[in-house]
Amino acid sequence: MPLQVLLVEDSPGDLRLTREAFRDVNPFVHLDVAKDGVEAMAFLRRETGHVHAARPDLILLDLNLPRMDGRQVLALIKEDDNLKSIPTVILTSSELEADVMKSYSLQANCYLSKPMHFEAFHSLVKSINDFWLNSVKLPEHKGAGGGSA
């Protein structure tokens, strides 16, 4: 069964690195991409253009995004009874303690800093896969989501 991961990321370079790393570590991962916060919320709520969007098993969320930033996306996810149970992992270049604290305060499931180097980035994606998609029990989808069967 494919694992649906929603990556919310505006940097084409980071998007490409993440896509290639998942392709290497787990061919069952189906990566959907939203390039800003507005698109991410439209995807999650299956609004126009995204009515057939898959409910993600995991969300990887950057903080600094155009139109609606990741903090706002996180707050909206965790305030929404239908979306709050989707594990949402912050994946950002910000190392600011205020961002770490704010994210956990908004109930991010965890916070990861993007490494600068290619190999470390690849290794982090492997860790995300090993932990979140292999070790952790994720919630099932039935009855949840925006209504598509």
Binding site: S85, V100, M101, Y104
Partner: protein, 142 residues
């Protein structure tokens, strides 16, 4: 610097396995144990004999506990503005879908089931250590 982990677990065998696995995986981990939910909350709130308790960097929480169960502990942690930022990992034998769904609904940071086999248990503790205590950024103590 020591890493403070609070294990909330009533089964003495699982406590011992977890202690031994952390000793192997990461000697910087200082493991505190609360054997029921009431003691866990007293530790987190530094009540009574827990007046000097350190704030945990990570909580490992069983669900089925005497006096106050893990679901109630989780709900209290995540409703408390002083405690909600502490990553709280469910570690339980239950693989009931209702427990998984309820835990994420209550904002557990993640849900893990205890493997029965010793080697798998050790390997799970190692993966918790590798992910949460080396890869993830944890909030600094206030």
């Amino acid at each position: 610097m020591p890493i403070e982990v609070l294990l909330v677990e009533d089964n003495a065998g699982d406590v011992r396995l977890t202690q031994e696995a952390f000793r192997d995986a990461n000697p910087s981990v200082h493991l505190h144990v609360a054997s029921d939910g009431v003691e866990a909350m007293a530790f987190l709130r530094r009540e009574g004999v827990h007046g000097q308790a350190p704030r945990p960097d990570l909580v490992l929480l069983d669900l089925n506990l005497p006096r106050m169960d893990g679901r109630e502990v989780l709900a209290q942690i995540k409703e408390d503005n002083g405690l909600k930022t502490i990553p709280t990992v469910i570690l339980t034998t239950s693989d009931a879908e209702a427990d998984i769904a309820k835990s994420y609904q209550l904002q557990a940071n993640c849900y893990l089931t205890k493997p029965v086999q010793l080697s798998a248990f050790e390997s799970l503790v190692k993966s918790v250590n590798d992910f949460w205590l080396t890869k993830a950024r944890l909030p600094q103590k206030p």
